[in-house]
Amino acid sequence: MTADSAALPLHGRLTGGGARGGAAPLADPPVMIGRPSYGELTSQLLRPITVASRWHLRLLALTGIGTLGLFAALTYTAIAGIGVWGVSVPVAWAFAITNFVWWIGIGHAGTFISAILLLFSSQWRTSINRVAEGMTLFAVMQAGLFPLFHLGRPWFFYWLIPYPSTMNVWPNFRSALPWDAAAVSTYFTVSFLFWYMGLVPDLAVARDASAQRWRRQIYGLFALGWRGSARDWSHYRVIYGLLAGLATPLVVSVHTVVSMDFATSQLPGWHSPMFPPYFVAGAIYSGFAMVLTLVIPIRRIFGLYNVVTERHLENMAKMLLCTGWIVTYSYIIEIFCAWYSGDRFERYVHLVSRPFGTYAFFVWLQFFCNCAVVQVFWSKRARRNPLILFVAALLINVGMWLERFNLIVTSLQRDFLPSSWGIYVPTPIDGAIFFGTLSFFLFLFLLFLRVVPFIPISELKELRHALGEADRRNGEQVHA
């Protein structure tokens, strides 16, 4: 039995400590390499926010320019109207809704890692959860822009909220669109609270470890005066666990509601009761791909090999393989059901217009990226190879974007009557907005890496303590 093989409870935060029996297979790499002292962990994990590297500032400037481009494109859209996008009848939903679904799907892995894996006491969650949560927040922010600007008159967004207006009109809650507004805003709020609450003890670390007075004051302000008394921790553990429990059904509900935007319509290719699970699996799939896309470079640049180990990478690769197969299975069932239903319109969309129609190239590219690429992770060597993981994750990101694009556009462009068929071609503004949100996302993410401890310090200390206890117990067993 190796030192790390004892399965530990997730940390006292939730379970109340005490080791649990059971051993993981010998071959598993550890979740932490070496046994750094608390002081070493603190200084290692605070270094990225105390020392600015030149590339970091340069990338911030670059993505900042991209963000300005996004704002310019959005302003133009708001002034000129959404006709500047390629959307028209019949394809009235295209890039914007594709981007919305893609970004919001990416957010799901953050909540999955931070909430569901917390409840399942998975140790390998600990060092990557905050990066994943930050990714969630920033991805949901991008997602929120699209429905907002798709309104055409974004300044009237508050009409979705039931407030007593002089118009005496209320929103129609039997439509899926108000559900969407409720789901996305709740998701953002709860994710934010969860992220911030997890951050407070680490902001206190940043406050106490900072040498400069202004840093102490700023971190001290956001740390709210956290002192870490046993009483504070006892409430903290319970409430953090509660927030995790509350965030967990959100992982499932948000994309379920998003899928209902499509499933409640009658359009061939959209009108399907299997959309909710299919969308949720796809969301977690794309989210893990994005976490890997971000974590692999961060691990290398900041030299975090000791806390983000091969175990983390391998487990995420396994998640990709698992959710990738759920997505593949969904594709198969979707096509089978279209054929089995006997409905000629469903059959036409799934069996003719998608695989052989206008966008056939993108449909096959989607199948390649989402179904074929992930099969490489049957190999343990591939699961532990950062380069293979990174490339595969990028391809999966592309594939998942294409999935949403194909789903939305091919269904709209070939509906019931051939007389109303059409085609969709994106405009440069569509492209500018999509790449603009990528820039904005990276900008926020780089800022996050620069100003807050992005690897949870107090949780890693707790993990370190638990591992030390396990080492000692194993040592006693050996000597006994």
Binding site: R13, G18, R174, L193, V200, L221, L224, G225, W226, E462
Partner: protein
């Protein structure tokens, strides 16, 4: 003097745990421990009961559920009946998604606000934050604090007891030093 404390620094969770158990056995009642990460055993040793916040959160969630459901029923079913394809005006299944989301939203907000309330955050001017050495509490040290209002508290004796239990150093908060 509400927050006059004697502070003792320890270098490991095991040591502070032993000290806390021993001091409680000797009759000290007003003890508090400060640690860089959660040490659940310490909470048990200090006799801290499990947080009662979940009950408030349940109430918050239930309020959210009732609020959202009744609101939708009233707005779409009674106050502004909107006939869409002759579907029922009060269609409970269609109201579930928003009811669910609001339940979670209210529960989460209640949890967060109760957390701030029960742990009295934000308190940016706590006197412990003025003790320079106490900064190590969030980094790698474990501090035990005894209130000067404790029945057993005696400056000389308590200091000796803490040292004997392995405290690296013993300090007083500014109020006590005067």
């Amino acid at each position: 003097m509400p927050s006059a404390w004697m502070l003792a620094e320890f270098d490991a969770p095991e040591r502070i745990l032993e000290a806390a158990v021993e001091l409680r056995a000797r009759g000290y009642a007003r003890i508090e421990a400060f640690t860089p990460h959660a040490v659940p055993e310490l909470e048990a040793a200090l006799g801290i009961r499990r947080s009662w916040v979940p009950r408030i959160v349940l109430a918050g969630g239930a309020t959210g559920a009732a609020f959202a459901f009744l609101l939708q029923w009233w707005l779409n079913g009674v106050n502004y009946p909107l006939n869409v394809g002759a579907r029922p005006l009060f269609s409970a299944p269609a109201f579930i998604p928003i009811t669910f989301e609001t339940t979670v939203l209210f529960a989460a907000l209640t949890a967060f606000v109760s957390w701030l309330a029960v742990t009295r955050l934000p308190t940016l001017n706590h006197s412990l934050l003025d003790v320079e050495a106490f900064n190590s509490v969030s980094i790698d040290r474990f501090w035990l604090a005894i209130k000067s209002s404790d029945e057993h508290y005696d400056r000389g004796r308590t200091t000796a007891e803490l040292r004997e239990l392995g405290a690296l150093r013993v300090l007083l908060t500014p109020e006590l030093e005067q």
